[in-house]
Amino acid sequence: MTATNRGKSPTQMAFRRLRRNVLAMAGAAVVLFVILLAFFPSMLVPSHADGSGPYEFRDQFRDKDQYQQPPGIPGHPLGTDELGRDVLTRIIYGAGISLRVGLIGTIVALLIGLVLGSVAGFRGGLVDTLISRLTDTFFAFPSLLLMIGILAVFEKPNEIVIFSALGVVGWPGVARIVRGQVISLRGSEFVLGARALGQSDTRILIGHVLPNCLGPVVVVSTLMIAGNILAEAGLSFLGIGLPPPAPSWGRMLVDSKEYWITMPWMGIFPGLAIMFTVLGFNLLGDGLRDAFDPKMKD
């Protein structure tokens, strides 16, 4: 044990290991960059050709003189689309949507999955059977159909509804992992010890069991964010994602499909944006998995 590990909790040690993982750090850099884009899009949007300020979101970034321009022309490094909208600007504004879809979907999935999974694992018996069968049912049901069903209920689904629907589809994965973790921890001696101390079940679950599930949950969450970004693109592609004006990356892909021979940049760049973001989250997730692996030693 090195002296630098003195007084460090297992979580702190896991993050130390993560920082030494080059790939994971590369992933984290991509993720950080996307977060930056999402929070400060206007600062990073390129100036208009005539030197005027950042594009207004409302205008949909249209440049009425520069329809369908290929990448590299002044003011439009990634070209413009069929309506004269700057592709780079839309991608930058799309980062916020992708991040929100990833986070909201994952948070909803975590809320449902953590509660159901931990209750099933901790209580066992009939409660476990019921929740587990419910989980299985959700797993077996075609998720796309479920999504379409949920979205059909709402007349005009907004962002929150669409993103939450992703969480409703994604929770069984979380629930299963949490349940397994809780079951393996439930019988451990320190849980028995907390019980012998007179701690209530709720306290034991929140104070002792769940913190020890943290690693796997962080890992699935990160990977799930990536999955949700992809899923949103897929939904947009099917026409049940965000409605047209929104600069969602999936939406941009859909819009590009009629022009892919004449204007391939319309699809290539949003596609690359999705690819790098998903890759970034996946690398980070894999790195977290390694860092939280109990078998890992410094």
Partner: protein, 345 residues
């Protein structure tokens, strides 16, 4: 051997076990019917005297750990009672209490666990680990009071107070067990149930932890139920010894008496298996058991030990033999102990 004298005066019992049974139902078949019971503890009666160390020995699977857990209310008790004499003069049957009702008594009865690695939550610092019992049982104590109490307790078990902010993974097995002891003692309990507290430790460390426990017991006037499978350890720490076999008590008595003159055939076999540096001891004196312990799911009728007993009689199958007086302060569950030598032939 001065310590052995300390409980020469028979004093008040603090725990009284009456025909305690812990059976675990086994379900099987297509409809998960109840097909059998694992009789982990199958009718045990004994008194634990205040201030003594009662050693509980037996092979693995004989139910000694379950006995401890039953007293702690950690396993459902099938039948029987555990009377506890609380410090406020009340006597309660611990087996009849709900978890909530048991709670106030937990500050008086605490447990030390076998595995110092899995018994501490690795995500908590040492301070948080030792602090937890205080938070549960003394919610009125201030943060500062608790911090002082934790540091005092750490020093008491031979750790430095600066180590309070460290995490369990930074400590060795022996140190971790000290943390476990500090946690158990935090609420100043009167009874400590030590479930194989040293069997997971290196032999060189075992002595340190055992001596620490004995020291603390003397200082704090603790009653200790010391569960172990290592007979030499039990001989070293206990005032009295209870020998268990297949969920039953087979012999109970003063440590010296039992080790000098074991009466029950099982105790004799158990003790003759202990290597002793005695050149006069002849090989033939050793009593070696054949076969395995029967499953606690299918116990033999009558005396559980009869299938391996060298002096088993036909009558042994009829009923579980009651404990009879076989020495001054020694009782054994075998009606044939006096004829042991002639029966052995």
């Amino acid at each position: 051997m001065t310590e052995v004298q300390r409980s020469a005066e028979p004093s008040q019992p603090i725990l009284e076990l009456e025909d305690l049974k812990v059976w675990f139902p086994v379900h099987g078949g297509v409809f998960s019917r109840h097909i059998a019971d694992v009789k982990a503890v199958d009718g045990i009666s004994l008194k634990v005297i205040e201030g003594e160390t009662l050693g509980v020995v037996g092979e693995s699977g004989c139910g000694k750990s379950t006995l401890g857990k039953a007293v702690m209310g950690l396993v459902p008790v099938t039948s029987g009672n555990v009377h506890f004499h609380s410090h406020d003069g009340r006597t309660v049957d611990l087996t009849r209490l709900t978890r909530k009702e048991y709670r106030p008594f937990r500050s008086e009865i605490q447990m030390v666990y076998q595995d110092p690695y899995s018994s501490l939550n690795s995500r908590l610092s040492v301070e948080e680990i030792v602090d937890e019992p205080l938070r549960v049982h003394h919610p009125k104590m201030s943060r500062e009071e608790r911090r002082i109490a934790v540091e005092e307790m750490l020093e008491r078990v031979g750790l430095r107070k600066e180590q309070a902010e460290r995490y369990p993974h930074e400590f060795s097995g022996g140190q971790r067990q000290r943390i476990g002891i500090a946690r158990a003692l935090a609420t100043r309990p009167r009874v400590i149930i030590a479930d194989e507290p040293v069997s997971a430790l290196d032999v060189s460390i075992q002595a340190q932890v055992i001596n620490l426990m004995r020291e603390l017991q003397r200082e704090l006037g603790l009653t200790v139920i010391f569960i172990a499978h290592d007979i030499s350890v039990v001989e070293h720490v206990s005032d009295r010894v209870a020998v268990m076999y297949l969920g039953n008590l087979v012999e109970l008595g003063q440590t010296q008496e039992i080790f000098r003159q074991p009466k029950h055939p099982y105790t004799r076999a158990l003790l003759s298996a202990v290597p002793r540096p005695d050149p006069d001891r002849r090989r033939e004196d050793r009593l070696v058991l054949r076969g395995d312990v029967p499953s606690p799911m299918a116990k033999p009728s009558g005396c559980g030990f009869r299938t391996r007993c060298p002096i088993a009689q036909e009558s042994c199958a009829e009923q579980i033999p009651p404990m009879i007086q076989v020495g001054k302060r020694q009782r054994a569950a075998c009606p044939h102990v006096e004829q042991f030598d002639e029966l052995l032939g």
